[in-house]
Point group: C2
Chain length 218, copies 2
DNA sequence: CCTCGCGGTTAATACTCTTTAACCATGCGG
DNA sequence: CCGCATGGTTAAAGAGTATTAACCGCGAGG
């Protein structure tokens, strides 16, 4: 019941899609089984139960987000000040359109890298994004706290990256701003009528503006 | 089965909270009944069924949003150009902190009013916001299309209001930008660690920046 | 007075769901 | 060839669900 066989991976992927589309309680184990070509109780050869499937989805998603974010901040420093060295683009494919900086502000700090990273993740794994933000309450106690820990740590990485840009914000305000930016970036499952590249460009620009320029009055 | 008695209103409100918290399929009619002090099948004296309750919640929410938005645009004009006359603040209480404009841009156009209106709605009715964006798929055919019509019309009002600010965006891009802004404004149920006034201010500023300033490169 | 509709009750029906049990094919190490 | 783990099957159990049925107290209008 431990290793990750291709079948298990397939089950997790299709289950994530179903959970995202109809909600955890709106999907039966029969539905999941049928979606992968087997039927109902065969899933119990791979997972302990329905809740375990959701748990593995969420553990995997939150872990990938957190580790990706931490990889962007750990260039040797603690990430509490704006860094000017090149931030790696995170292995999620695509994304040749790096923002052409021109103002005095640093163009390649951690926040910029986080925006690009999260946008790529949301565009490539919309189902994981959806269930991560709305289904973590359907988990049992132990799995929920583990997922929640990673989610809070992920928010914390973002909040620290935002601080140098917006020193006037209190920690609580910065957290709220980060979560609002998540709402913006995670809106991609609800739209998807323009090309992926255009969506990526639009979302990164909007998130950048919302996070760094929102002190300007119109 | 038609008129809106206080009991019916109470049922709809508490059901909306439950649906927002645990999802439509995660709430039983017994749960809803218990939450209002009656038990289970008594709900059928007021509504045709569980799905009908969700339908009335969503119809009500989408109607209030659409009518509120339309009231802001209908000052006699069609709202396709930026208007400089005073836009009414929408009767949702609060909100004395009008943005102090200083740049050349118009400070009180329809978009600004829509941002304020939607922010107020999201802050005062978070449950309706949540179920409106994630539970409309649990509706039957006829109710779903009626709710969806209103939602699309609401998006359309926003998109038209955004056009004069961002003429370079294609209609599809403008729609995506509007939905991203909704994601940002609707993030309020996930945070709520700062005061309502501070949240209102933060969200309106971020949405304003995301929608109107996102063409600026950092 | 008395009927009658309104809003409630509990019991019962007819599912559907998760999970377990019992069984079976197949490929592989010895 | 044997044994057996792997991954699948169907049947069944047991809990939970929405919905309906049958019944009841009660306040108001004739």
């Amino acid at each position: 019941m431990r290793r990750v066989t291709p079948r298990r991976r397939q089950i997790l992927d299709t289950a994530a899609d179903l959970f995202a589309a109809r909600g955890f309680h709106g999907v039966s184990v029969g539905d999941i089984g049928a979606a992968v070509g087997i039927s109902g109780p065969a899933l119990y050869k791979h997972f302990a139960g329905k809740e375990d499937i959701l748990g593995q989805c969420l553990l995997h998603a939150s872990e990938r987000l957190l580790e990706g974010a931490r990889a962007l901040t750990e260039h040797g420093g603690d990430g509490d000040e704006v860094r000017h060295d090149r931030a790696g683009r995170a292995g999620h494919g695509g994304g040749t359109d790096a923002p052409a900086g021109h103002a005095g502000a640093p163009e390649d700090d951690v926040l910029e890298a986080l925006i690009a990273f999260h946008t790529d993740f949301a565009l490539s794994q919309p189902s994981l994004i959806v269930i991560q933000e709305r289904e973590w309450g359907s988990l049992g106690e132990q799995a929920r706290v583990r997922v929640r820990e990673r989610q809070l740590a992920y928010i914390d990485v973002w909040t620290r990256a935002l601080r140098p840009h917006r020193p006037e914000l209190s920690p609580a305000q910065a957290r709220a701003a980060v979560q609002a930016a998540f709402g913006l970036l995670n809106s991609t499952p609800h739209s998807a009528r323009i090309s992926r590249a255009a969506m990526r460009d639009l979302l990164t620009r909007m998130a950048r503006a919302a996070l760094t320029l929102s002190l300007i009055h119109i």
